[in-house]
């Protein structure tokens, strides 16, 4: 079976609630069949609005949404056949777990024994067999979450939408649920559109991530590319930790460029700078800068240690470097750890390929 690369398609979608501000601007997004795609962004970035438009609870102001080639903008939510997991689970509190799961099947007028079979299958998928007669109020948060997932999947929808489904769970449970949802997705191959503002959740679970800001998709790529190769300074800031230098391009040759800072000059990869004299923000991941590097790197500077914070598996070191007092370094916890002291002067080095000259902030 060939997968449709445009199974869900947002075609030039605009959305405005009040006619003045566009919450979603000219959204162009294709989601492949069977893909796990995450919409990631700060609150108010338009990601939930996109999800609601796909579910049918909001209508696009402009543009069309297509599902498997059919325009669905005018189809009411209950005819779209899209499963949805809500932020607060939205389990029906007056129905048992069985009745909750049977609801979508009953409204589809299925036979009783077929309903039983499907409910049983869905419950075993989330390993909740034997909970059929419980009321949602008698379940823990994690169990309720799993019932919500099972309910969204029990009627074999083509697409499942998840709106920050793990937001209410504690950290450990959230992590185990992330893997569980990922495994369910892998085993049944349903298309999942997942909304979250938690970047680590997005990085763990998704095939692709669409980073939203200001009603626009800033970058759409797989997790590693998103982390390693952010295309603009918003994405670089939003995903993971980041050290930045603001400066002016003083020389550019091919993929490399020189950036002049207020007190120094660094080498970086030219990503979104084109010519000399442009303002730029250089972004560097904390783990890519090394203390006292053995090999030679094309950026070597010395700075003063301002703060050392022990984090268990690593130590965070804040250094005043090139006029940036907030330069962060992560030193992995190993036996050969350097003894770092505050006010000590140390050498820092990184490769220009890891420093990305992006748009100015």
């Amino acid at each position: 079976m060939s997968k449709n690369p445009e199974f869900v398609k947002f075609d030039k979608v605009d959305k405005s609630y009040d006619g003045k501000v566009l919450v979603v601007k000219d959204l162009q997004l294709d989601i492949a069949e069977g893909e796990f795609i995450t919409m990631l962004g700060p609150s108010g970035s338009g990601k939930t609005t996109c999800l609601m438009m796909l579910a049918g609870f909001e209508t696009p102001t402009n543009g069309e949404i297509l599902l498997d080639g059919n325009i669905i903008s005018n189809i009411p939510p209950h005819k779209r056949g899209i499963g949805m997991v809500f932020q607060n689970y939205a389990l029906f509190p007056h129905m048992t777990v069985y009745e909750n799961l049977a609801f979508p099947l009953r409204v589809r007028k299925m036979e009783k024994n077929e309903i039983d079979k499907k409910v049983d299958k869905a419950l075993s998928m989330v390993s909740l067999n034997g909970f059929e007669t419980r009321m949602p109020g008698q379940l823990s948060g994690g169990q309720q979450q799993r019932v919500a997932v099972a309910r969204a999947l029990v009627f074999d929808p083509a697409v499942v939408l998840m709106d920050e489904p793990l937001g209410a769970l504690d950290k450990n449970l959230r992590e185990s649920m992330q893997y569980e949802i990922k495994h369910i997705h892998e085993s049944i191959g349903v298309t999942v559109v997942y909304v979250t503002h938690d970047q680590s959740e997005a990085l763990t679970m998704s095939n692709r991530i669409a980073v939203f800001n200001d009603g626009k998709v800033q970058q759409l790529s797989n997790p590693s590319e998103l982390y390693e190769k952010p295309v603009n300074s918003f994405v670089a800031e939003f995903i993971g930790e980041n050290n930045t230098f603001n400066g002016e391009v003083s020389d550019i040759s091919g993929e490399k460029c020189k950036v002049k800072l207020s007190n120094g000059e660094i080498l970086a990869s030219a990503i979104s700078v084109k010519s000399k004299g442009e303002q730029t923000t250089v972004s560097l991941r904390p783990e890519r800068a090394l203390i006292e590097p053995g090999e030679t790197m094309d950026n070597m500077f010395s700075g003063k240690v301002e703060e050392v914070i022990y984090h268990g598996d690593h130590t965070r070191v804040r250094i005043n470097l090139l006029g940036n007092p907030e330069f962060i370094l992560k030193v992995p916890n190993s036996t050969s750890n350097l003894e770092l002291k505050v006010k000590q002067d140390i050498k820092i080095g990184w490769n220009s390929s890891d420093a990305r000259a992006l748009d100015p902030k």
């Binding site: 009411p76 209950h78 779209r80 499963g83 809500f86 939205a90 979508p104 409204v107 009627f155």
Partner: protein
């Protein structure tokens, strides 16, 4: 080591359990003292009056206290033929005492209720006693029987004997259009005089329909209130509550202005040509007026509990219902509606119970066909001064409400009620 079984002691050697209990006891007393004024208040204003009402409704000691010797003498009388000489003598001596204290009038009235005609003959007897026309050395029986032929009628003496027990259920029977017949059995009053049963049924009917109207009108309003954005819902809430803050009398009076034959509503109907000018419908002093005014007045009692319940229902539940494939109606009926049942229960119970005892509005706009049992109670309290009958009907109303509450508890469960 079995530390679980060893007794834990506090530092001064008292077992921890004992000192904890002591501390708790202090708190309990404090808590009780805090609610004690309220308990006392409730007792004085609620339990005590209801108890007083109950004794009043069954109290029949007046005759017993007025004719002590008579009833003592009557104990040996079989009640089939005219009583013997001793009964007459005892009655004469009791009655004479009453005449001397000028309280015989009450007895006459009371006995007249038991059997018509007593008033006349007791008054005659009183006049003779006052003029000292009774010769105590002669047979009292003969003299009394001569005063009026009714004194020689055994039925009148049977009536006196029937008033002997200090307590009676007669008022309750009267409230249901029944009475104790001469032989002590329970009989129905003539069909054309059965007014109370009609009133009870009408009260139930009006309360039921007012509840239904309130529900039909209140449910959408409450839903709107719960789902509208704050700035609109506050305004709407004020609209719902505004009548609540207006005097009941003013609101009823304004309905009178609206509904009367030459009133605003009728004028409007004539204006748009719905009815002819000389054929205006009567909307007041009948059931229509009672329905309209009571529904409007009781509406907030339906809206508020519904609103408070609906406010707690997450809008994502309806969305979930729709996204799972339910049409908007199915999502409403299977998901939203069952969740509002606690509010419906509270609202309906509140409106029904208030409506069943409603007084002012039906009195003002009800007319003859729109008055309720409470108007009858008020009538007996103010006009006939038959307080024991009014108490009996009040208690019947109260027990009716308790029965409804009990049935509701059996059907829905009172724990399910949510007022806020």
């Amino acid at each position: 080591m079995s530390s679980e079984t060893r007794q834990i002691l506090t530092t001064d050697g008292i077992p921890l359990e004992v000192s904890l209990k002591k501390a708790e006891k202090k708190n309990k007393i404090k808590a009780f003292l805090l609610v004690a004024p309220l308990l006392l208040f409730l007792f004085i204003t609620y339990v005590f009056p209801i108890g007083e009402m109950f004794t009043r409704s069954v109290d029949d000691r007046m005759v017993t206290n007025m004719l002590p010797k008579t009833f003592k003498a009557m104990e040996s009388w079989d009640g089939k033929e005219l009583p013997p000489e001793e009964v007459f003598t005892a009655f004469y001596s009791d009655f004479k005492f009453l005449v001397e204290n000028e309280t015989q009038g009450k007895l006459g009235q009371r006995l007249n209720k038991e059997k018509n005609g007593f008033n006349t003959i007791t008054k005659k007897l009183m006049r003779l006693i006052k003029r000292n026309k009774i010769d105590e050395s002669q047979s009292i029986k003969e003299q009394i029987m001569k005063i009026h032929k009714r004194w020689a009628n055994v039925e009148y003496w049977q009536a006196i004997k029937r008033t002997a027990p200090p307590y009676t259920m007669a008022k309750y029977l009267k409230g249901m259009d029944m009475y104790f017949a001469a032989d002590g059995s329970i009989a129905q009053v003539d069909e054309d005089r059965r007014i109370h049963r009609i009133l009870w049924l009408r009260t139930l009917e009006i309360a039921l329909f007012v509840t239904i109207f309130c529900f039909l009108m209140g449910y959408p309003i409450a839903h709107l209130l719960a789902t509208l954005p704050m700035k609109y819902s506050n305004l709407l809430m004020i609209c719902v509550l505004l009548p609540f803050w207006t005097s009941l009398l003013v609101r009823t009076a304004s309905w009178m202005i609206l509904l009367q034959t030459q009133g605003v509503v009728n004028d409007f109907f004539v204006m748009i040509g719905l009815v002819a000018d000389d054929n205006r419908p009567t909307m007041m002093y009948n059931k229509v007026g009672t329905y309209v005014a009571m529904t409007q007045i009781l509406l907030p009692f339906m809206v508020l509990p519904l609103y408070s319940v609906m406010k707690t229902i997450s809008p994502s539940l309806m969305r979930a219902g729709k996204s799972l494939g339910g049409t908007p109606f199915v999502a409403f009926w299977k998901v939203y509606f069952p969740l509002t049942i606690p509010g419906i229960g509270a609202g309906c119970l509140l409106v029904f119970i208030l409506a069943i005892g409603y007084y002012i509005t039906p009195a003002l706009v009800g007319g003859a066909s729109g008055t309720l049992i409470s108007n009858q109670i008020a009538y007996h309290m103010k006009a006939t001064l038959d307080w024991s009958f009014a108490s009996a009907m009040g208690l019947m109303l109260l027990s009716g409400v308790l029965v409804i509450y009990w049935v509701y508890n059996k059907l829905v469960g009172v724990d399910n009620i949510k007022l806020g």
